[in-house]
Symmetry: C2
Subunit: 202 residues, 2 copies
């Protein structure tokens, strides 16, 4: 999208915004103009919030989730069940499980999934940290692999399972099937086939 | 949308982003996490671009368009036709006309439209500046009213026309009708009726 007709600082802002996921050229333009039209302090608040979040948020050294403390809230919470670790691809997945409530165990955030196509191998995500974590604690009884049901997520789950099982720890995979409220006829083939595979006795 | 499960700096970033137009709670979350996962300098570049644009971009004292110079590129361009002024609601409209090319006159940006429902009267937008501009120059032969074809835009055009016409300046309104490439059957009633009203002899 040509943005030639704008002055350089506006052009540059549009350019930066359009690098964000889901923000195309048109949206970036609309956002940039909005940022110039809003109250000075409101625009500054956005910039400050970005810088502040980058300055203070870091990965929890235990589980890899994002936190502004030395250790994240879940890892620091003595009430959490230390015998279960739910392995997820990214911090948003932790947020999803925490919204659900009900899960009282710990997490491990891999920050990605194995994807040879993108040049992402096991060492590029937090699998090694997970193994070290398991070696350092004998409390863990179950690892729940909750990576996405994509090719990359499945490959990551398979890889992790192969490494963890020999240690005698129970390794499970979250169920995939028809979403609650979803209709069979609109389910894609893979989901349907997962739903059949995962069927349980009533 | 509950964002309780996040640390405060992340929460605050999500909150600031969700104030932007077209960015809902879910998108704000996705953007915030993305900003935390990208390279430090790329995230800083966004914040810097916002601050820099706010610092350097201002309204052109002549036409009201956004510029990083003392006077905007169009107003400063000696090759532009100073006898025509196209009146628009906001800087994005100027950008649209400039993309179209072909228009060689000047602009006047109102920064809004009259909207009694929102408490926006003639004095809250740049109509007075337009009148002063007309008084200070006797070069202007035509004012093209290119405010939006909305209730507010129409009211603004009517109001401006009433004030400008007595000065003996030609006042025109851009045409409204079926967009080129659009199909009659999908046009709304108002557009259809505008297309009929604006019909021309062949």
């Amino acid at each position: 999208m040509a943005t030639r007709s704008f002055a350089e600082p506006l052009n540059s802002l549009i350019n930066e915004l359009s690098k964000l996921p889901g923000i195309g050229g048109k949206s970036a333009q609309r956002l940039a103009f909005y940022m110039l039209s809003m109250e000075e302090r409101d625009a500054e608040a956005i910039a400050e919030a970005i810088l502040e979040a980058r300055r203070t948020m870091q990965r929890c050294p235990v589980c890899g989730d994002l936190t502004d403390s030395e250790i994240c809230g879940v890892c620091a919470d003595a009430a959490r069940d230390r015998s279960v670790i739910c392995v997820v691809e990214n911090p948003r997945d932790v947020a999803a499980f925490e919204r659900m409530k009900g899960y009282t165990g710990l997490y491990h955030v891999l920050h990605g999934a194995i994807s040879p196509m993108d040049g992402i191998g096991p060492d590029d995500i937090g699998i090694r940290q997970l193994l070290i974590r398991l070696q350092q604690s004998d409390e863990v009884k179950e690892i729940i692999l909750a990576t996405n049901p994509s090719i990359e997520g499945e490959a990551t789950a398979m890889y992790a399972a192969k490494l963890i099982k020999p240690a005698g720890i129970r390794v499970t995979r979250i169920a995939h099937g028809i979403p609650v409220g979803g209709e069979l006829e609109y389910a894609d083939d893979v989901t349907l086939s997962k739903a059949m595979e995962g069927r349980r006795d009533l």
